[in-house]
């Protein structure tokens, strides 16, 4: 903590239940640092989580917090946001919660462009249930359900959400909390469905099973490859296949990967209002300077 994060924590709930070295806590801190700079209190901020290690972090935030069922936080958040468009609704989900059991809700939330922020903590494994393979587990990785190494191809979650129509898609890693904070802040500012994927480390299952060392080792390994450079180097004829030969971490592009603008679900609902939609009103909304068009 370097700022007012302490003020936004539920001290009665601390210490949290995450394992030593778990990257989720770093992301929690990074988000709270951003919020503490913006809000005196979180009376009008609602955090919605699903089921899993990632989603449990909402319980430690002194806001309106909703801990829902497995995979469905986005549907709860959709109803909440439509009922109370003035609330700042933030969904915290994981890779199992968000793209496996809840994949349908994720793509539909992106398609509808509902004005909520979704932070997906991707640790490439099911942590809470004991380290089973997730749809994000890299090929070759050992998990409790892939004792011979994972053979399935993983999702590129950010690309998936982008393809589904999200208007803000970004990826960061827990190794650089300031970047997480920076991107999270931009996601909060964005009008429309903003999606932030944060690569974090599961030390107890992913790290231990694959012998990646402790939390500090895994954190350091995140810094080893950076795709901005990889992309540049890959453009040279002389350097081929700039990927790590072993799946320490997949080399994924980071930063703000996509940003676009269109009407949000709430706007389309309020503009149409049961009547046929008013083209002028729609157009005026789309030109709203907040969208940076």
């Amino acid at each position: 903590m370097v700022g007012g994060e302490k003020r936004l924590l539920r001290h009665a709930m601390m210490p949290h239940m995450l394992c030593p070295g778990c990257g989720h806590g770093i992301v929690l801190d990074a988000m709270l640092a951003v919020l503490s700079a913006r809000y005196d209190n979180l009376d009008n901020v609602a955090f919605v989580g699903g089921i899993g290690c990632s989603s449990r972090i909402v319980g430690y935030i002194d806001a309106c917090t909703l801990h829902t069922t497995h995979g469905r936080p986005l549907s709860f958040a959709t109803g909440l946001k439509l009922a109370r468009p003035d609330l700042n609704v933030i969904v915290v989900t994981g890779d199992g919660d968000g793209v496996s059991i809840g994949g349908n809700h994720l793509i539909h939330a992106a398609r509808r462009n509902i004005d909520i922020t979704c932070v997906l903590l991707n640790n490439e494994i099911y942590g809470m249930t004991g380290g089973q393979a997730a749809p994000t587990t890299v090929p070759g990785a050992y998990t409790s359900t892939t004792p011979q190494g994972n053979t399935q191809h993983p999702f590129d979650v950010s690309e998936l959400v982008k393809a589904a129509g999200a208007t803000f898609v970004a990826r960061a890693s827990s190794y650089r909390p300031q970047v997480v904070g920076d991107i999270f802040g931009q996601a909060l500012d964005h009008v429309g469905f903003s999606f932030v994927e944060v690569m974090t480390d599961c030390t107890e299952y992913f790290g231990r099973t694959n012998r990646f060392g402790d939390g500090a080792d895994m954190l350091m390994s995140q810094s080893r490859y950076d795709p901005a450079i990889d992309a540049d180097l890959a453009s040279r004829a002389t350097v081929e296949e700039l990927t790590n030969p072993q799946p320490v971490r997949p080399v994924l592009p980071k930063g703000i990967l996509h940003r676009s603008s269109r009407l949000t679900l709430e706007e389309t609902l309020s503009v149409s209002g049961g009547r046929s939609s008013n083209a002028n009103e729609m157009e005026a909304l789309e030109r709203d300077p907040r969208r940076g068009n």
């Binding site: 806590g25 640092a33 939390g215 040279r236």
Partner: protein, 349 residues
Amino acid sequence: MASNQRGRNVMSNGNGGENVASARSGNLVLGGVGGQGIITASNTISYVCIEAGLNVKKSEVHGMSQRGGAVVSHLRYGPEVHSVILEPGQAEWILGFEWEEGLRYLEYLKPGGVAFVSTERRIPPSAQVDRLGGKINYALDLVPPIGVVPVDTYRITGKAAVERTASAQTVLLGALSVEMGLPVEFWHKAIEATVPPKTIKANLLSFENGRSWYEEWKGSVVPGHNTSSHSEDFSNRSNNQHRAGASRLKKIGDSSEAGISISSWMGGIPRVEIMRDWCKGCNICVSVCPERVLSIDQHEIAVVSEPDRCTGCGLCARLCPDLAIDILLDAAIGDEPVPSLAKKRGDSR
């Protein structure tokens, strides 16, 4: 993209230029991050030169090695060597063990020289420009500089690098050996003498992989596409690409030279506060602290063991997964108390 042409151009200059060192003398700069084996590599090269009956001198700057700090070594060899320190534009070869660290020393490269730079990247956790936190400053917006041969050391080393039985960086020595032209058996002998005994076999293999990769790479380069001169001023570039650690030191040095104490610069004396009930002893803070302020006690909880060393950079606090670390600013004697670092800073986020 122009990068291809520029990248190839290096080699054309290198192959035909009059600036290339003869086999009997040469100057090198080795740069990287602590723990990458830079000192070992410079020892290996020195052994090779000694084996060849040459005079060799080298210097080392290795502050905070093992902690992710910058490490640099200058090495000169020849029939007779007087000074060890190189001036910009004097090095025939640069070995960059880490991407940005390699690029940083490009100002030392002679026109026509070759910089072998590993594509391995170790970006410091928040790569702050200064100790007070802020923007990422890493060479992400890379325009491939002239003279750089990017070497994917991990890929070329292969399995051994992953299993940590060989240093991926030995690949760089393999590539360098092609350019330096001293007999290969000297290199083998030098590696055997300088690396840990258990890793000799794997490192020799890694060395050979590097050699053959570079020979193949050279063969694939079409010479003479671009005649742009090699006089680009690298010093401007490198000024903008300071690694966090080095620039931090510079900043503090500057401050003290101007007679400013850390406390007045930061607005108080930084103090690390650890909530023992929240800490789970994951060791992250201990490993990321550049000043070794923290340690783990017998109860497996982080403690502040060297409070006076803390400069208030906040890395431990930002990377603590248990949210158990707070950085407070204590008032210097006579000052009003300062509540928190972030408030003082007016956190821009």
